[in-house]
């Protein structure tokens, strides 16, 4: 049980090790939990969870990334989260027989670890530290939502674009000698749906920022930021 090999159990251990909420567990406990895990793969564009569906499992992203979104009454799609390795969802069903409050769709090929509600519940009672980790994780996620809500309230769209560049810079960037290179997790349309603006508006704003020299659009998946402070100023102080 404690040796590394290619059996399902050990593959599952690798899966668990990636997830922050299990980071406090010792090897033995990891092994126990590993045996409870199921896996499922999804292709890019496939829907992992449908808004409104009943579900009784907690899903952990083991590999790849996914977007969580709600469809608005006026036919748009409001993106709420971009999940990547180690993120989980479905915890809202922990107690009652609740239905999903958003849809989740794979942005890339995704591999998931699945725990049933019952198993997950038992874990929480056996390992209070996991519950605390989850509270910590949820708190962080709420802080992000709160910031997003604040941002949506800002009239000035430039500020909001700056805000999302900052957010992406902290999560999806590498440093180069030309500046910070952001690897966009979403398409332009996706970013627009995350910001809650029209695709075209985002396009115009990014074009404008490029003209002003604040960003350099390397390709559709990468944006280079020569001077991060200028973006911070944009996001913070507005115009």
């Amino acid at each position: 049980m404690t040796e590394t090999c290619n059996c399902n159990n050990c593959r599952n251990e690798l899966c668990i090790r990636k997830v922050p909420i299990f980071s406090t567990l010792n090897q033995e406990d990891v092994g126990k939990i590993a045996s409870l895990i199921n896996h499922r793969d999804y292709k890019k564009g496939e829907t992992i969870l449908f808004d409104g569906d009943y579900t009784d499992s907690v899903v952990i992203i083991n590999e790849g990334s996914a977007k969580a979104y709600k469809n608005t009454p006026d036919g748009r799609e409001q993106i709420l989260y971009v999940f990547s390795e180690g993120d989980f969802f479905g915890e809202q069903n922990l107690l009652g027989n609740k239905t999903a409050t958003f849809s989740v769709e794979a942005l890339q090929p995704v591999n998931t670890c699945i725990l049933s509600r019952g198993q997950f519940q038992k874990l929480l009672y056996s390992y209070p530290e996991i519950a605390v980790k989850i509270i910590e994780e949820l708190s962080g996620r709420m802080a992000r939502l709160e910031t997003a809500l604040q941002s949506m309230g800002v009239r000035n769209v430039d500020t909001r674009v700056g805000g999302i560049l900052l957010e992406f810079a902290t999560k999806y960037s590498t440093k180069t000698n030309e500046g910070t290179l952001i690897h966009l997790p979403l398409s332009r349309e996706g970013i627009a749906n995350y910001l809650g603006v029209a695709r075209e508006t985002l396009s115009r704003k990014l074009g404008q920022l490029e003209n002003e020299g604040l960003i350099r659009s390397v390709n559709n998946k990468e944006i280079l930021i020569p001077n991060m402070q200028a973006i911070e100023l944009l996001a913070g102080a507005g115009y």
Copy 2:
């Protein structure tokens, strides 16, 4: 310890009994926790927590209501939550030495129960069911935030106004023979800051809804909704 009286401990027990997260505890445990609690009162308009301040305590609203908000870069105030009896905040500081991510201001005279971070942490490890309750509570709060975010993404302001009327109707209303009477927890300006629109815009929209017969503004603190389904339609389907 288990007898009802007017001593501080027993007053604290009453306080605990109001809070859903402690609802699973037996009398003895309630007594133990009661001895850990401190109290503090706030006048209407007083700030209970300042955004950015360091704080090491979890605050539970025992009586009254309060708004949680962030100031936006463009000088507005974006309301995130309306807390009332039994709600708590400060749990984001559970683990690290974090600072507050929003301000909280009393909307009415408020009485709070205060637990220090250390005490609260111990509770979580001693009573896993409290942790589970908190996860449940946070999940609910996240669902609300997610819905709010979705709502903010909707262009049509009528829809958003309808949405907030529905939300208030579920939390702050009484049934009368004329329809559903909503007791507004916020002023017009507050509602506007909750929706992320200008005060004047909200005023116009409410006036319009009143002309159409969908609502009746009884006074600045109460709105009567004769036909709730019409509001649901407004919030759901847009125009």
